[in-house]
């Protein structure tokens, strides 16, 4: 790995509710190099989206507490002033969200919404930003860009809206693109189109990508490394192929086998018993212990760090790890 672009250390996020602070995510550590593609996978409540939004401090500030460090090229994003943060957002780090129906402003036209970041970050004039917006629409393959640029979001299909969202994100050629469930609201064939587009843009622009998804298959087709999250913590980090060859954490294992297979006629699917614990009722030790088929006596009360597992892998479980060393 070359230079560290992003280095997240002990990130923890909690939200204020009317019953006090509730922890959403903790003990998140990972790094990202230039040109890397990292996938973050987890089920609902795993904290994957919370993690993603924290990288740019996009949670409502009033009722969010973020601890730890998010080092972007050495500078801690969590300590930046508002102005510095705004300079970073959209220019160096950009984001694509789920559900393009709600992520585009319904009363502004496409030209305005794409052009805005160009005007802010690159000081473009209205006319220049508009010309660039048309080019960007071309780049994300929206036909008839010169005309569509005047459209409003509701005039576009779901797939097209997500393309516009991507155009907005890549407008300033960011170094890092964070894509949070970018295709979840879309049909399978459109999903394939969008992922293909992201793949090409990543190659063309040389940007790093963090792809967040609940779909392990989707992530595995796109990312080099995968971080699996469960109940607010990363529990396994591994290169994609290695993860599928031998998942080290029982949860990763269960998750992979629970995905219905497209290639065989199974009559009963393997399952993980029980359900994900609520953030307020997470077990003290290993959070997966109550559902784990391999649980041992001390699992429920031992708090484990991520353990070094060789081959660039780390796991929060002792099952397959002999030499118990925490990741540095």
């Amino acid at each position: 790995m070359t230079d560290k672009l992003l280095d997240v250390r002990d990130l923890a996020v909690s939200f204020r509710t009317d019953r006090g602070w509730i922890p959403a995510v903790d003990s998140v550590n990972f790094t990202l190099g230039e040109g890397d593609a990292l996938g973050i996978v987890g089920e609902s409540g795993s904290g994957k989206s919370v993690t993603a939004l924290s990288l740019l401090r996009l949670h409502a500030e009033r009722n969010t507490r973020i601890e730890g460090q998010v080092l972007w090229r050495g500078r801690d994003v969590l300590k930046l002033s508002r102005g510095q943060l705004q300079q970073l957002r959209g220019s160096e780090i950009a984001m694509v969200f789920q559900d393009p129906i709600h992520t585009l402003n319904p009363v502004l036209n496409i030209a305005d919404q794409i052009g805005e970041s160009l005007r802010i970050h690159q000081g473009m004039t209205g006319a220049a930003a508009r010309r660039r917006a048309i080019e960007l629409l071309d780049t994300v393959r929206i036909p008839d860009a010169a005309r569509r640029v005047n459209d409003y979001p509701h005039q576009l299909s779901g797939g097209q809206r997500q393309r516009v969202m991507i155009a907005i994100a890549i407008a300033c050629q960011p170094k890092l693109l964070i894509a949070d469930e970018p295709t979840t609201a879309l049909d399978v064939t459109v999903q394939a189109q969008i992922m293909e587009l992201l793949r090409q843009l990543r190659a063309d622009l040389g940007m790093s990508v963090i792809l967040i998804s609940h779909d392990l298959g989707l992530v595995s087709e796109f990312a080099d490394r995968v971080m699996v999250m469960y109940a607010g913590q990363p529990i396994e980090m591994a290169p994609v192929d290695a993860l599928f060859d031998l998942p080290l954490h029982p949860y990763s294992d269960g998750l992979i086998s629970a995905i219905p297979d497209l290639d065989s006629d199974l009559d009963r699917l393997p399952t993980i018993a029980g359900s994900i614990p609520e953030p307020t009722r997470r077990p003290a030790g290993c959070r997966f212990a109550p559902r784990c088929p391999h649980q041992k006596a001390d699992c429920r009360n031992t708090v484990l760090p991520m353990l070094e597992a060789g081959g660039g892998r780390a796991v929060r479980c002792t099952l397959h790890v002999t030499d118990k060393r925490a990741v540095a």
């Binding site: 009317d18 018993a273 029980g274 359900s275 614990p277 609520e278 307020t280 009722r281 109550p290």
Partner: protein, 300 residues
């Protein structure tokens, strides 16, 4: 049960107990934590308490005149002073609370009741919808106070006509609110499920639509309560509301208006009473809306 238990451990059987976490209870608990709701509630309770205790804390005769003590400024004997007939204003304002709160509350309740029925019917029986809603539109075309003035003029100055006038002004507002909620609820899957099971319209309305409309209706009702107190006072002030000699805050102000400079206390205290009551109920309404239905938009 003080702390709330959310979610249930999956297949592990829980303790054999009846759940106490009904949505209503949860809402109530959150309500009690809501600052402005608590403040409003305490204020209103205090006013209600005073009104209830009127015979014991006042001289008990709001209409007793006494020429000797006309225009007495506030003093220990007469905390709010006396008016041009020498009537004790403290007594009149406290008894006035009975009239104002009673009218306001009755109006709110009746409007919510009839508005609720009309709203649910319009939402469920689609054929009635456009007729009912055009009538409501026509009534809504008039600002509430104007409609109330018109109806009140027709019915003459009596307590009941004030109630009818204000109720007819607020029914359309409640109806619109309930209809909007009911239209959303009727599209919910649980209504579809009931229909698939062959449930009758009446059953669906009573068991599914109405209970789920209650929250927005309650919020609306609270605001109508506050508006109605203001509107009753306005009508009484204009001389087409609560008829004298009933002490109503509005007509005490009207009466004090002519002596506003020399005997400012006559109009000051009832006006404050109106403001404080409306304020406390509005505070409660804000709390209810925040907890029950934050997206609700109230039309005044």
């Amino acid at each position: 049960m003080t702390d709330a238990t959310h979610g249930v451990g999956a297949a592990t059987p829980g303790p054999a107990r009846v759940s106490t976490n009904s949505p209503m209870r949860l809402a109530l608990r959150r309500l009690m934590r809501h600052r402005s709701f608590r403040v409003g509630l305490v204020m209103l309770l205090l006013i209600v308490l005073l009104a209830w205790a009127a015979p014991w804390i006042t001289n008990g005769t709001p209409n007793a005149t006494s020429v000797r003590v006309r225009f007495t400024p506030p003093s220990l004997d007469y905390p709010f002073g006396t008016d041009n007939f020498g009537r004790d204003l403290w007594t009149r304002v406290v008894y006035g609370a009975r009239v104002s709160l009673w009218i306001g509350f009755t109006v709110a309740l009746l409007s919510a009741f009839f508005g609720g029925i009309i709203g649910v019917c319009a939402a469920w029986f689609r054929r009635l919808d456009s007729l009912l809603m055009r009538i409501m539109d026509a009534l809504m075309a008039f600002p509430a106070i104007l409609l109330a003035i018109g109806v009140s003029a027709v019915l003459g100055p009596q307590l009941s006509s004030v109630i009818i006038a204000l109720t007819s002004a607020y029914i359309p507002r409640c109806a619109r609110m309930v209809r909007a909620s009911a239209l959303v609820i009727r599209e919910q899957d649980y209504v579809e499920a009931a229909r698939i099971s062959g449930a009758s319209s009446l059953r669906i309305i009573l068991r599914h639509i109405l209970p789920n409309c209650l929250a927005p209706l309650l919020v609306t009702l609270t605001f109508v309560f506050a508006y109605a107190i203001l509107a009753e006072a306005t009508l009484s002030f204009l001389g087409i509301g609560t008829p004298p000699p009933h002490a109503s805050w509005g007509n005490i102000v009207a009466q004090g208006r002519d002596f506003a400079v020399e005997a400012w206390w006559i109009m000051l205290f009832p006006g404050l009473a109106i403001s404080i009551s409306a304020l406390s109920i509005n505070l409660m309404g804000d709390g209810l809306r925040d907890v029950l239905d934050p997206r609700l938009k109230i039309e005044g």
